[in-house]
């Protein structure tokens, strides 16, 4: 890090290459989902990069690095528990992820019948929500007003529907 602070980019790259496995091992102890784990490792790496000015070369590097890693990991876990405490069964990232998966499926088949077939597996209300949201382009707020539901209930319902659709799509493949 001392060399990196003096502008040595090779040393900086080597530092990152060496600490990434350590950080992965550190995060793996708390996070089991592989994609979450890599996201957190990246967040930690960015934090280390942004905080590089605060490192005093006279002090041990690992203690500094793991403090940042712990802070970012706790931040992530705090956000996760907060979402759960607020009753949100899903995170927006999850919803987006599943949505992308579903979008990918629709792109690959490019068939409206196929989508209709998938939607047929959904309960009536979920089918309505997905149709309004993804085909007709309404926002969750507008759907909530139209169906006399709360906005969060619409989002939760949509997320459940995405899950069913993704599962069905995988089965059909």
């Amino acid at each position: 890090m001392r060399l990196a602070q003096q502008g040595d980019k090779k040393a900086y790259a080597q530092l990152f290459q060496e600490i990434t496995p350590l950080l992965r091992a550190f995060v793996r102890k708390k996070i089991s989902r592989a994609e979450d784990m890599e996201d957190i490792v990246q967040e930690i790496l960015i934090s280390i990069h942004r905080a590089s000015k605060t490192y005093d070369t006279a002090r041990p590097f690992k203690a500094w690095m793991f403090t940042i890693a712990r802070f970012r990991l706790n931040d992530h876990l705090r956000g996760l528990y907060k979402n759960r405490a607020q009753g949100a069964e899903i995170s927006y990232e999850d919803a987006d992820h599943n949505l992308l998966e579903a979008a990918h499926v629709t792109e690959s088949y490019e068939s409206r019948e196929y989508i209709n077939k998938l939607l047929a597996h959904l309960p009536k209300k979920q089918k309505k929500i997905i149709t309004m949201m993804k085909i007709e382009g309404y926002t969750a707020k507008e759907i909530a007003t139209a169906l006399k539901m709360t906005e969060s209930a619409v989002k939760v319902s949509a997320h459940r529907a995405y899950k069913v659709l993704a599962t069905r799509a995988k089965e059909e493949k």
Binding site: M1, A4, Q5, G7, K9, Y12, A13, F16, Q17, T20, E38, V41, Q42, L45, I46, S47, H49, R50, A51, S52, K53, T54, Y55, D56, T57, R59, P60, A63, W64, T67, I68, F71
Partner: protein
């Protein structure tokens, strides 16, 4: 973006140049604060009996411990601007030691004025007098150094932002207290507790809240 590409991007940006050492930051901040407080002291004028008071051993000791408390809080705040607290976890507790010594000294000095048993009734009398000028002056003396210390702490990456906020406020307000002790000719312990010390405690709690929003490293 995969991790290797991210590393490549960050390497291209390069590491930032290190911040000055916390001791250096403390010295710079103390110089600025000293200049400001010197100016304010000159403007308001020191208490008329300052020469006599300085000769009083306990008063001198009280001022000395106040200085130690203020300097140690500044040092602790700058250490807390590092994510790892500059690897000196004891630093943030050091001001409490000086605060305890200062409290003992101040109480010992005040015992000849009011018996300890009557301190609470004296405090309620002091409260009813409503000397709002004192906390106002403490705030006036503390706000510019407080803003400066918050800005400097923000340059770092404080992970203990609540601590950093309250300790930074404590540092600025204790200098305000110190100057007020040199300006105001009132040694009534009940007045000092109610209108000097308690507002500082309140301001530190406020500093903690401000720290949560202004200092939190994202």
């Amino acid at each position: 973006m995969d991790t290797d590409s991210l590393i490549q991007t960050m390497v291209e940006e390069g590491a930032s140049r290190p911040l000055p050492h916390p001791v250096k930051q403390t010295i710079l901040w103390l110089a600025g604060t000293g200049f400001y407080l010197g100016f304010m002291g000159g403007y308001f004028g020191l208490r008329p009996d300052i020469v006599l008071k300085i000769d009083n051993f306990l008063y001198g000791l009280e001022i000395f411990f106040l200085c130690c408390m203020s300097v140690s809080t500044a040092m602790a705040a700058f250490c807390l601007s590092r994510p790892d607290g500059h690897q000196k976890p004891w630093m943030k507790y050091l001001p409490f030691g000086f605060a305890a010594l200062w409290t003992v000294t101040a109480f010992t000095g005040a015992m000849d004025q009011i018996p300890i048993a009557e301190i609470f009734s004296a405090m309620s009398i002091a409260m009813s007098r409503g000397a709002f000028d004192c906390p106002k002056h403490i705030a006036l003396f503390s706000i510019p150094p407080g803003l400066a210390i918050f800005l400097i702490v923000r340059l770092g990456a404080p992970t203990q932002y609540l601590w950093a906020g309250s300790i930074a406020t404590w540092s600025a307000t204790s200098f305000g207290y110190l100057l007020l002790r040199l300006i105001e000719q009132n040694d009534n312990p009940a007045h000092l507790i109610v209108w000097h010390a308690l507002p500082i405690v309140f301001m530190c709690a406020l500093g903690m809240i401000i720290g949560k929003y202004a200092l939190r490293w994202r």
